[in-house]
């Protein structure tokens, strides 16, 4: 998803152009799958949003009824707000740590490789399994806190909206920081050593090198990682569903969960489809914004290229 073309291609733009034209048909299988599993369902959901259907009976056309009730329901701004909170807070929780970890594990010492493997583990677990495990650990009566007699751990973690949100953000960060660290690690390794050597000759310290070379060079990676985080947070579902079910008092009822509960628990498929369409629109807008943010420049980040 990186916006800038590879450094080599940037030097010979014409060569890139022709190769794209000749190999265009390679996209075909992906395109077919995309149409079958993304475009067609999307149209289906859009059509459903203008109907009234309880999931088992017959579908009847209902005009703008679903849209009216979704857009006037105070539940929608609330769900959007919760979703926004999750996006922003989880970005803040993940990004700085991921960059630091990525820079750290990009070194060549052996112990770093071992550590990298170790903290990659959370990513291998399913969100549902992680949620169930955390739920048991955070249980105010039988969990880690009372078990080890640690009073600061004995909180009503999932019973207060603010705490529950904190737990959700923590688990998202815990599970996904390894993944984003890995992306950053790859990007850091792409930075030519000559740049650091030059900086050293100029007398730049480690901090200066990090802020003046490493960080700017990671810009495109940052955009990629952020896009993945934002879209991921937007569609966070399994984690919250298993952990809190949207509670307490709708404190973690994000948009994707709201859609599921409206559709499959309250049996209002029309309303749920309208929410789904809103979700797609919000996702598109956010993804576009992020791409604009970093995708404008055509030239490489490498100096002199």
């Amino acid at each position: 998803m990186s916006a800038a073309p590879p450094a080599v291609a940037a030097k010979v733009p014409s060569a890139k152009h022709t190769s794209t034209g000749r190999l265009g048909w390679l996209v075909l299988p992906a395109l077919l799958i995309f149409v079958a599993f993304a475009v067609v369902p999307l149209i289906g959901v859009f059509v459903l949003s203008f109907t009234s259907w309880d999931g088992i009976g017959s579908i009847s056309f209902a005009g703008f009824d679903s849209w009216k009730s979704v857009l006037t329901d105070p539940g929608l701004p609330h769900a959007l707000w919760i979703t926004f909170l999750i996006i922003v807070l989880s970005w803040i929780a993940q990004t700085p740590l991921s960059i630091l970890l990525g820079v750290f594990i990009s070194g060549s010492q052996k112990y770093r490789a071992v550590l990298a493997v170790l903290f990659f583990l959370p990513l291998l677990l399913s969100a549902a399994a992680v949620s169930i495990a955390y739920k048991a650990l955070l249980d105010p009566n039988f969990g880690l806190g009372p078990g080890l007699n640690l009073s600061f751990l004995t909180q009503d973690w999932l019973g207060r909206p603010a705490l529950a949100m904190g737990v959700v953000i923590f688990i998202i960060a815990w599970q996904w920081i390894p993944f984003h660290s890995l992306i950053f690690q790859g990007a850091v390794r792409q930075i030519p050593a000559s740049m650091y050597e030059a900086a050293q000759i100029d007398g730049a310290g480690r901090m200066r090198q990090f802020f003046s070379i490493t960080l700017p060079q990671l810009k495109n990676t940052l955009i990629t990682s952020s896009t993945l985080q934002v879209v991921g947070s937007l569609t966070t579902f399994d984690l919250i569903f298993v952990l809190t079910g949207g509670g307490p008092n709708d404190g973690t009822r994000a948009l994707a969960l709201d859609m599921y509960l409206t559709g499959f628990r309250a049996n209002q498929m029309g309303l749920a489809s309208a929410i789904a369409v809103i979700l797609v629109v919000v996702g598109l807008v956010l993804a576009q914004l992020l791409q604009r943010l970093g995708g404008r420049e055509r030239n490489s980040q490498l100096e002199g290229a």
Binding site: V45, D139, L228, L234, P248, F264, A266, L279, G283, L284
Partner: protein
Amino acid sequence: MDHNRASRRSFLALATATPLVATVLASCGDSGPAGSGSADTATDWILTGQPKEGIRQTAVDDWNEAHEDQQIKTSAFQNDAYKAKIKTAIGAGQAPTIIFGWGGGTLRDYAQQNLVDDLTPWLQENPDVKDRLFDAAFAAGTVEGKVYGLPTETVQPLVLFYNKKLFGQVNAEPPTTWDELMALVPKFNAAGIAPISLGGQSRWTNMMWLELLFDRIGGPELFESIYNGQPNWTDPAAIDALTKVQDLVKADGFIKGFASITADSNADQALLYTGKAAMMLHGTWTYGGMKTDGGDFVSGGDLGYMNFPAVTGGKGDPANTFGNPAQYVSISSKATQAQKDIALAFFKGGLLQEKEAEAYVTEAGEVPILKGIDSSFSGSDDADWLKFVYDLATNAPSFAQSWDQALSPTEAETLLDNIEKLFGLAITPQEFADNMNAAIGS
């Protein structure tokens, strides 16, 4: 070229954002391999969880052994997963021949959409099927005077359980009135014991408190009128009940952190038998779990049980109860005639026969909905308990069905949402009542 790029990028963005939508639609069509079965084998979906899963499976196995030409194939699902799956399966026309459920609003939906068969004529031809079952069990399986769900399995009223050891420790008697119950709250809190265990994250657990308070204060007619479409959530008796429940929350009656405890994992039962909480309002289905998981709690005689206390000045009879009058089996209207014939034959000669009934009594500690079953209790370790449940269920002037089962799924979801907020003190009783009145008939 610039334009080219932009469109490719939005293409990618679209691709990342849409899988969710695709997933939702895909799950609509998920029917499972056991969906329709072959034309001459009936299918039956049962619930997991021992000992009842084994009892259900054995009943089918015995039938299959004795009826080579009328085979039934089972698939087992977890309770909550089943509720979601059966709905989508029926919607997709992939329902099993035998549809298991809890009657009430969900069954009414199925019946009104002609998705399940009317069993009334068949019951008239086979009066002996009906005559052996509790009369009261039929109400929740009946829609507009026609029986769509045949009652089966066990009767499950709500019971106020308590830990006798803890009551002895603070020198207290089980509460017979609401005021006595409220007076116990500070007493237990002072002793460092939570007065009441509650798995509040499951929401229907909180609902049980409201059901019985509504009944004791306003009588069964109050909810009956709401069920029939009158906006009576704002009735003074209803507001009184809603206020009383919030008073109990404010007095720290329920265990700290109840909003993050779920009933699925039986953590609420564990609080009672590990001595962390003194009381628990729950269905009789929890007895078996406490017996197997609670060490010598049940066998040592520490488990106390009683009907919900009276509310002084209330209209409801203190002998009334709430819960599941039975479980229900229906026949999918989409099944082939051969499949339907097998299912009906099984209903008549294979379901809730002597062996299955005995297993519910001895293994699960539950009361099957068979008339005169109490005569078989005497040999059981749980004879006192079974007799208590039998008497409670059969002597209750009113045995109402749980609200979340009685109401339509849409209304039930609004109810559970608002109950969670009521217990979380996020809304007032008046706001609760207004929200619910607005949702009537949805």
